[in-house]
Symmetry: C2
Subunit: 587 residues, 2 copies
Amino acid sequence: MSRILRLNMADRSFRWEEVKPEWQGLGGRALTSRIIREEVPPTCHPLSGDNKLVVAPGLLTGAPAANAGRISVGGKSPLTGGIKESNSGGLVSIKLARLGVKAVVVEGRPQDEAFSLVRITKDGVEFLPGDDYAGLGNYDTMARLWERFGKGVGVMSIGQAGEKRLAGASIHFSDPAGRPGRAAGRGGLGALMGSKKLKALVVDDTGTDPIRLADPEKFKTAARKWAKYLMDHPVSGQALPAYGTAVLINIVNEAGALPTKNFREGRFEFAEDISGEHMAELIKARGGKTKEGCHPGCVIQCSQTYHDKEGKYLTSGFEYETIWALGANTLIRHLDEIAIIDRLCDDYGLDTIEMGCALGVLMEGGVIPWGSGPAAIEMVRKVATDDPWGRIIGNGAAFTGQALGVDRVPVVKRQGLPAYDPRAEKGVGLTYATSPMGADHTAGYGVAVNILGCAGGGNPLKKEGNIELSRNLQIATAAIDSTGLCLFVAFAVLDNPDALQCIIDMINARYGLSLTGDDVRYGLSLTGDDVTALGSQVLRDERSFNRDAGFTLAQDRLPGFFKEILKPHNVTWDFTDEEVDQVLSGF
Amino acid sequence: MSRILRLNMADRSFRWEEVKPEWQGLGGRALTSRIIREEVPPTCHPLSGDNKLVVAPGLLTGAPAANAGRISVGGKSPLTGGIKESNSGGLVSIKLARLGVKAVVVEGRPQDEAFSLVRITKDGVEFLPGDDYAGLGNYDTMARLWERFGKGVGVMSIGQAGEKRLAGASIHFSDPAGRPGRAAGRGGLGALMGSKKLKALVVDDTGTDPIRLADPEKFKTAARKWAKYLMDHPVSGQALPAYGTAVLINIVNEAGALPTKNFREGRFEFAEDISGEHMAELIKARGGKTKEGCHPGCVIQCSQTYHDKEGKYLTSGFEYETIWALGANTLIRHLDEIAIIDRLCDDYGLDTIEMGCALGVLMEGGVIPWGSGPAAIEMVRKVATDDPWGRIIGNGAAFTGQALGVDRVPVVKRQGLPAYDPRAEKGVGLTYATSPMGADHTAGYGVAVNILGCAGGGNPLKKEGNIELSRNLQIATAAIDSTGLCLFVAFAVLDNPDALQCIIDMINARYGLSLTGDDVRYGLSLTGDDVTALGSQVLRDERSFNRDAGFTLAQDRLPGFFKEILKPHNVTWDFTDEEVDQVLSGF
């Protein structure tokens, strides 16, 4: 039976707790958001001892299902002030699941300034001094922890940004090669972990047994079909393994939705230079790897190892969002410069989307020139130093905007906008506006339908259909985020009516349940079944937390400058407030 | 007849407008808040062209009434994100009133980066290039404008902080000696003026006639009694002229409510060193002046000229709040060091309360040592340079807290707390929590009753009576802020039942009206008459703006750390949320 592990950082003690019956059916995001809703005072300071950091594998994590190794990290966000779930791959999730840990709840805050490590094995939990690792980046931290505790242990750690409690700080998870390329990037949860003085969590599942399935045969049948569906879809089976998520650069640029120069235009002149196709060429020429999974059991393999000109390892997990944020958004056109910043962000523990938005605002304010990779690299390096510029950009785009008195700041709920201009991809634009997470493409990825043509396609430039699209995808995503499945399973789920049934069959076979399920494809009803009820409940938990934290519909808005016309399609953000409010009204 | 002057900074044009009938009875805060409520989109970015800066003399300003020369400045606050009225003395208010200007509304924003001056005389309005003054502090700006346009003209200007659009930036008003010691300090309205690229407004009333009174005899009778009541009260007639507002240092310290070391204790060991009594000694010994008025017609004369050791002018308008913020709050105990920072704040255009709170947070974060005047001075000097630390502290305490990852940050609605610990002066504590302005002692000054003993006195340490006290004072203050009267008339009004009638008689005689009035003293009913109806209406305007800007009751809260026990009285912030909400519930 799984249990909850509570770490009390105030006195460096721990306690195991049985899972309440009401929490039994929850996992991942559903569980982190529920625990925060129930236990964190909504108006508390995010860095105070009253906040909690909750880490939870998904419902399917640890079972032999393809792409089920994601982890949810939650808390009151130091960036937005609202509730946050941030999702990552890496090794930790599966190991926690195998150790029978349904969630780790990190509570309280020490009086002293000493950092701790916490190590979880099948023999127990131990607090260890962490000051030897303080000041180290995630690369060195993970390397030393592998050296000390064994190659292959799962590590969740923060870099210098989290130690400094900067609101752009991320939490990193070791990948199968022991590198920190995977992150719970968004919402500044690294700062929350830093406020707890927890440098790293080390998770070692050595000696554990495989997870017991309620109905192994039924599980195996469903899991086999499931893997096949993922492989059969052209996006998850071909495009992502070939070029990584950066395959989207050319596609979104072509769609006129690639935000360029701090959201001034929808096309970047040098998109080709930073495209996934170009990246794959460079990787091959330099001896890197174009295909890698972020966790065992991944059949999509959208990650990669990117080498520098000398053929030396530079970075991994080099994502579309990162390349856009640090590239088209800032007019930096050299992939190697972008890769260096990505590497620094992984090392210091910084959200690359937030950093790209912050650098764009810094350029907007004239502090560094547009398009200058070297200037941007120098700025990001300051985050690991005592230089106050590091404290400014490390706190994100909204903060940088206030520092400079710049009002062209692409944020919702103080979180930087991701890589799709909301005027030219209105489905995801509505998600940016209304998600309880702040601007977040993963919370309801309209792009899959409107630009990638899943579920029959939609129109990214027109209002029609996008209110329902964003709503339905937000509900479905909240459910998927609770399973531990990677969001990239959505392409198959949107296009194949049997895929959702596979997920439900796997959950039922894992736990001995009998959940039902509708088709979650775009346009179809999403009410009345267990899966959508779960997704809706997650959103209700999150929105009620935000309401009590002081959020209203007035925060469900895009910045005013999106009333400007966006080239090349000459589109604008033309939703009324009332239309925006329809997306999640009644929740 | 008075008119509204609209300045459109987008094309540097102006336009005179008749006063709408609904605005006729409004002045000062009532008018600035109404115009903002009606014309500024609540969710706009405070530095965008959609925000407006509104400047309005009070209803009695310009008429021969004692202490009626205050001015209200309003806008959507760059600091709080809510509505703001900030109030100042100086020369501008009376001159605007004599020129028949009921309000100046500064709108739009230029496309270019050039600063402007705007000059208002009886012959008209002119836009002049302002770039020669850009980069200058308020001292030089005002000196040069007096040299150019004549000694004695009214100047409203911003320093480097406002030019940089920092959220701690104030707007300064020339005093009778042409110095910038008077400020609309709070809420970052200097940043709003800076975003409009308006460096200074020059107001010259040469050649105007005295204001016409509807009933000169009745006015004269009331005004004579009014001046006498102010002079007869021990606070406004004796304490304030003798020692300035700094007379409060010893009094509030004695009451155990002088926030010390970032609100850790209620008494400062070295209070005597920074007291008004000690200041008066130094001023006399060094040849300064202990008594000055901030505007013609002031009979209280709480201002002063403070010289340095060499007998050279150092600063003026050296207030209790300033001395506390930069003194007890930071443990700086040398009045000369505090005076240097006050001078820098006046020159750069920075709110001294906000800066004191920000410096306290900077010390909390270990950036500079507690109690170090030289280190604090060096930090404040950075605001006028390109040093990013200047951008951090210049944006205020909440911003500095986020930069440093410090959660002990004394703010409400992101505005720094003034000079009375809310645990040991619960009346003003409730005002901090619930005022639409953010933490603001002037919005409902419970201190007058609870500590200074006006209106029969109250208990600052207990909850009893303080909900009604804060509510009644907030209503009464909103009305007083609309008259142009200095808030220090409140002592006489609280203790003398005839004083309020004097105000009403003066307004009636000025405009030919027949307003009524109740006794606004503590504990008495404040409903049903014109004066309290006006005050209530102002608060309703302000709270409805904030509501539409996204504020809820969750923002009407003190920071969590006030649950700590405060010495010497061992008191805590023990109001429930429900009790706090009673203060202005139903508004």
